[in-house]
Amino acid sequence: MTGLVASLARAAALLLSRDPDALAAIGLSFRAALTSTALGTLVGAPLGLAVGVGRFRGRDAVQTVLQSLLALPTVVVGLAIYLLISRRGPLGSLGLLFTPAAIILGQIVLAVPVVAAHTAAAARALDPRARETALALGAGPFRLLATVAGELRVPLCTAVAAAFGRVISEIGVAMILGGNIRGETRTMTTTIALETAKGDFELALALGLVLVSVVLVLNTIALRLQK
């Protein structure tokens, strides 16, 4: 117990001393997660709204697929995209493998279903008169979606927070597509895995503290929004 407390104290000291490796990993993790969450929301929110508000054949099937994708293992996403962007893959010429862009690409694939599934579920649970009233007032397809989205502000924010939490804490995509290159593609989660394997717990614990803090803050925000 004493050893754990001492390690936590050293980890905190490491963060306060602005350790370059820690700062680089934190910086990349936040940049990648913010970018992928933003882009994932641009795709996922309209998709979720269309599924939740639209009346088309196969809507239940699409929502089931989105729900299922929530549990998609990150390593499987990493592997699938690896096969696409590796040198012999169909997108190999883009030279994305082992770059931050590759991590962001993989994280977008993780973020889209989180935002879309949460948005679709919230839209379907919304009072049906919200859609009906917009139609009755003469809303076209775009204004209809925008009006319903306005009524879903809180669940949309919660969905975005959930997506950010998912991508910043994932490791499979970052490890497989980023390659864990020091100073270039090393994120908080891949650093934790590496340092733990080396038996060097200070940096791993320091980054673990940051990650847990992020998750706590996100959940607090989500809870406040839902009240």
Partner: protein
């Protein structure tokens, strides 16, 4: 000229309810009351006429246009439907009254002027800056009526407008019916026979999803249009 012509109209709602209308014609300028108990199919009929739900079969012509599965926006914008209870989005009342105008691309200045004028005509100016979610049931109905009427619909569909009547709503509803009668056709669902006979020029009665035998008859002469409050 007929505003609505329906024949062999069938709409199934779940395993236990089907609306079946052999024929229904509504002429321009009519005030048609659809009477019937809960579950008779009044709301289903109004949503079909309001182009908010597709029908299962039959033919429906609204404002001279044969209605297909996906009615054109231009046709939808010629009519308006007020649900029961009405749904108001979050925000200020005056912005809510102007909502349909914003869907039509009108400038903010025009929207605010028209919304203010309509609230005044219905005697609801005092509500203009209130938050919609702070309104009583009657005030909500009044604002929903203003929101529908400001669009000058050729066909106005009101679902149970008497359900939440208080003093404010009664005045707004009477003013609204007076305004509508002058320029368009109104169809309202109600189970209040007195109200129907007071404001309708014709009454159609539904029971278990069908028009009830001899109940389709002229009502007493409609009450004279109440004077609208002046701004």
């Amino acid at each position: 000229m007929s505003v609505v012509r329906a024949s062999a109209l069938v709409e199934r709602r779940g395993p236990s309810f089907t609306l079946e209308l052999d024929e229904l014609t509504i002429e321009r300028g009519e005030s048609l009351a659809v009477l019937g108990p809960n579950g008779a199919g009044k709301t289903t009929l109004l949503k079909l006429l309001g182009l908010l739900e597709p029908r299962d079969s039959g033919s429906l012509t609204v404002l001279g246009v044969e209605v297909q599965d996906d009615p054109p926006l231009a046709l939808r914008r010629r009519l308006s439907y007020v649900a029961q209870p009405p749904y108001l989005y979050r925000g200020r009342v005056v912005d809510e009254v102007a909502r349909g105008l914003s869907y039509r691309g009108m400038t903010r200045a025009v929207r605010m002027r028209r919304a203010g004028e309509m609230l005044a005509q219905l005697g609801l100016t005092r509500l203009a800056t209130r938050e919609t979610r702070s309104l009583s049931g009657g005030e909500t109905l009044g604002v929903a009526l203003a929101r529908a009427l400001v669009l000058a619909p050729e066909l106005l569909l009101l679902d149970e407008p008497t359900a939440y009547l208080d003093v404010a709503a009664t005045a707004a509803l009477e003013a609204a019916l007076g305004l509508v009668r002058a320029s368009s056709t109104v169809v309202f669902a109600t189970h209040d026979r007195d109200f129907a006979e007071r404001y309708a020029t014709r009454v159609v009665t539904l029971a278990a999803g069908r028009r009830s035998g001899n109940d389709d008859r002229p009502a007493r002469p409609a009450a004279s249009a109440p004077k609208c409050p002046r701004p």
